[in-house]
């Protein structure tokens, strides 16, 4: 910005209190403050979509964004394959990122990044926004050197290369993956501001791979006596988890290399990971190197120390793995501001580890009255399901909730239900109904209701 010239600010870019503050600051000589305030406004005016100040007809008789033909309509754009042949999102989408929750972990290698649920459409999570959970840091493993082994209760222990696994008949299926600790910080009370941090450890992708049962068949697994398998990763933590044999016999468990039409991303287990639909994410072992077929559970660290549910009587429920029916409204949600009164589309996601979502109800009065939302297609088993419902906001405070029911008839619990059954000191498997408070000023807050 040139000094001495101040661009005209859009109307209402500061509220009345803000203007008073600016005037007061100018009187005390803090000109840098004023400069930055106006610079922000000018930047806003320059960007094509800045303030969301409604859509009035300007006094000049037309919108300058219409009347003055922009550069992109009067110049030559970029050529094909301009970004090294692999596209990236628009620079105007740079706010849509996965994020860490500050203070949650001390290191980035044993940490979590959350998917920006508030900004996603439909049911697919873009691979680059899929939530991450690493135990000992992620690796980009050379697929030509990766090996997959099956041993234990099999006729012949086998070794496979990626080439061989990718030769086998493949299937592609949409499934959600949710960390068992998703929403964990909210067991006792509200702890984080946005849906990214409350629910962002869930993602949904189309995964492509080979049913594990096919590979166990090739090794000649003893399906009569084997009851469990151990899945083991090839990274530093060599993550291990016990998986029920009954799920593998159903054909649902996949050894996958594809995700959303491309290979898995390194952060999500490239080149090979296990897909265990309906089961908490820790069991979807990344960098999968080995399956051991056995007849007893393995009590691996993450099933003997973490991922257990502490009951009020001091007993831990061990080998809890299913992600029960759950839903959340993603718009409006915490940290957002509704721009004005009037029509809104309330939208969100629902899922169940036990099958399909049957219906989702939405309340705008904190759970007193409910209306049934539209389920958008596709509605798939053990996948995220998108729901929408119309809402006209009258400008008064509102508490928005969603409540999902799955095909087994299970209804998502309230915090009251959940705490009555499991107390408040558990960490994992919090699937309670989420509440968002829309304030009169349009700002949305994460709340829990009594």
């Amino acid at each position: 910005m040139q000094s001495g010239r101040v661009q005209k600010a859009p109307e209402n870019f500061l509220d009345r209190d803000g203007i008073r503050t600016v005037i007061a600051e100018s009187k005390t000589g803090r000109r840098s403050f004023i400069r930055s305030a106006f610079a922000a406004a000018a930047a806003g005016a320059a960007a094509p979509m800045a303030l969301g100040q409604g859509n009035p007809v300007p006094t000049e008789g037309g919108d300058p964004h219409i009347l003055n033909l922009p550069e992109h309509a009067t110049g030559l754009g970029q050529g094909v394959a301009a970004n090294n042949g692999y596209g990236v999102p628009s620079k105007f989408e740079s706010n849509v990122q996965r994020r860490q929750s500050p203070g949650l972990t001390q290191t980035t290698q044993a940490s979590v990044s959350f998917a920006p649920l508030q900004s996603l459409f439909g049911i697919v999570t873009p691979s680059g926004l899929h939530f991450e959970r690493h135990h000992q840091g992620w690796w980009d493993i050379d697929p030509s050197k990766h090996r997959f082994m099956i041993n234990g209760m099999v006729k012949t222990p086998k070794v496979f290369t990626m080439d061989e696994i990718m030769r086998l008949p493949s299937v592609s299926r949409f499934h959600f993956i949710e960390c068992g600790a998703n929403t964990a910080v909210e067991w006792g009370n509200v702890a984080v501001p946005t849906v990214q941090y409350t629910h962002g450890m869930v993602s949904c992708s189309e995964f492509t791979g080979v049913p594990l049962i096919t590979l166990l068949e090739i090794a000649g697994a003893d399906f009569k006596n084997a009851k469990f398998i151990l899945a083991e990763g090839g990274d530093g933590s060599s993550m291990t988890r016990t998986i029920p044999m009954s799920l593998i016999l159903s054909g649902e468990v996949l050894v996958a290399y594809g995700q959303n039409g491309e290979m898995l991303r390194p952060e999500n287990g490239y080149p090979l990971r296990l897909i265990v639909p309906g089961i908490q994410g820790v069991s979807w072992v990344k960098y999968l190197r080995r399956i051991e077929v056995g007849d007893m559970p393995y009590a691996a660290k993450d099933e003997a120390v973490h991922y257990m549910d502490l009951m009020p009587d001091g007993q831990h429920r061990q080998y809890t793995n299913i992600q029960e029916c759950k839903s959340v409204v993603t718009t409006p949600s915490g940290g957002q501001v509704l721009l004005d009164k009037g029509f809104y589309n309330i939208t969100g996601l629902a899922w169940s580890g036990r099958g399909k979502v049957k219906k989702v109800d939405v309340s705008v009065d904190g759970g007193r009255n409910w209306r049934q939302a539209r389920l958008e297609t596709p509605v798939l088993s053990k996948a995220l399901t998108r729901f929408n419902i119309d809402w006209v906001w009258d400008g008064k405070p509102a508490i928005i909730q969603s409540r999902a029911t799955d095909e087994t008839g299970f209804v998502q619990p309230t915090y009251k239900h959940l705490r009555a059954a499991r107390g408040t000191r558990s960490i994992y498997h919090n699937n309670a109904i989420q509440s968002w408070l829309v304030q009169e000023n349009g700002e949305v807050k994460n709340v829990q209701v009594s």
Partner: protein, 356 residues
């Protein structure tokens, strides 16, 4: 797809008929037999019945030396540290060793849960230390060292005495003294298979009521105002266009603001800067697991180190090489195995001010 169905069906029939499955001949040329050597290299898991446990032994005293050299910088000298990971030791009593239940797990007011309060099986400790520890150099301990470190940990919780030697022969006896050995239950509905014969019904039972379901809802919990910007400016975390924008939490909330006037959209972030080679090395050698640029994590920040030792590259290189303790706090820094050249680069960078 049809082939897949056939395999599933075949399996189901074989299971139903009570036969062990025959080896598939449906996919010739895919997969080869694993050699004994290959299976031995990867089959490292140890089950609660100790299947998979290699022979060996280690004493509490040996374990203590190893612990202080390789484990204490993350877990504290007594396994009590909460700096990097949750504490391992603490919260159990000799009474718990008698009953096999940890009394503090019943207390709502007990502040935390350590590993020893939860873990029921010694096999789990041995297996995890063997496969994943030390954190920055997993699988580098020999079996006898794993026995020793496990023995030291157990001695800190009084599960074994200070002169104990843990081995494959006596591990089953030690398991009978684990404080929480009776603290696990599989009587629930949240295992997806039928293997544990848990319960059939979910433990929560909401009903899909539609009208006048509850009296007026009251807000019982929300974030306090001082936490408004604790997760950064939420305006930067929402799309720039849409039916809503993000709240500008960098400024205090204006209660009188009418809808729509609150936020000024931020400009797009500048492109990432070119990374300094020293910074890349600090990442590569896992220094950033314990140190950050400007904030204390486990160890001091890089900028604090730079301030304290300006120009002293040789001293810093020596410290990186041999580790140290007591200068910045109680948690020791272990010796580092990076190359001379890498250590020099990192030390020079620190000595020159640790400027990003």
């Amino acid at each position: 797809m049809s082939k897949f169905r056939k395999v599933v069906l075949t399996t189901a029939l074989l299971v139903a008929a009570g036969f062990a499955s025959a080896q598939s001949t449906a996919y010739p040329g895919v997969g080869r037999p694993a050699t004994l050597k290959e299976v031995a290299a990867w089959d490292i898991d140890v089950r609660p019945d100790f299947k998979g446990l290699p022979a060996g032994s280690g004493s509490v005293a040996q374990g203590q030396d190893l612990w202080e050299a390789k484990c204490a910088h993350c877990h504290g000298v007594f396994g009590e540290s909460n700096e990097v990971f949750s504490p391992l030791i603490g919260g159990t009593t000799n009474d718990d060793i008698k009953t096999g239940n940890v009394a503090n797990l019943k207390r709502a007011d007990f502040p935390g849960r350590t590993t020893i309060m939860k873990v029921a099986t010694v096999s789990t400790l041995w297996d995890y230390i063997n496969r994943a520890m030390p954190w920055t150099a997993p699988k580098s301990l020999k079996p006898d060292e794993v026995y020793a470190v496990t023995a030291y940990l157990l001695s800190l919780a009084n599960v074994v005495p200070e002169n104990f030697v843990l081995s494959d022969k006596n591990m089953a006896e030690v398991q009978k003294r684990m404080p929480n050995r009776n603290g696990m239950s599989t009587k629930h509905n949240m295992w997806a298979g039928k293997e544990f014969n848990g319960t059939a019904k979910p433990d929560t039972a909401n009903v899909a009521c539609m009208k006048d379901c509850i009296p007026e809802a009251k807000v019982a919990s929300m974030l306090p105002d001082y936490a408004r910007n604790a997760h950064g400016n939420l305006a930067d975390q929402n799309r720039l266009v849409g039916q809503q924008h993000g709240a500008n939490t960098a400024v205090p909330e204006s209660k009188s603001t009418s809808a729509g006037a609150a936020s000024v959209a931020p400009a797009a972030k500048p492109a990432a800067k070119v990374v300094d080679p020293a910074l890349a090395l600090l990442g590569k050698h896992n220094c950033t697991a314990c140190h950050a640029q400007n904030t204390k994590v486990v160890g001091p920040s890089f900028s604090d180190i730079a301030k304290k030792y300006p120009g002293k590259a040789d001293y810093l290189a020596g410290k990186i090489k041999s580790g140290g303790s007591g200068v910045w706090g109680p948690i020791p820094m272990p010796t580092q195995t990076a190359s001379e050249a890498d250590i020099k680069t990192m030390a020079n960078w620190l000595a020159a001010g640790a400027a990003k």
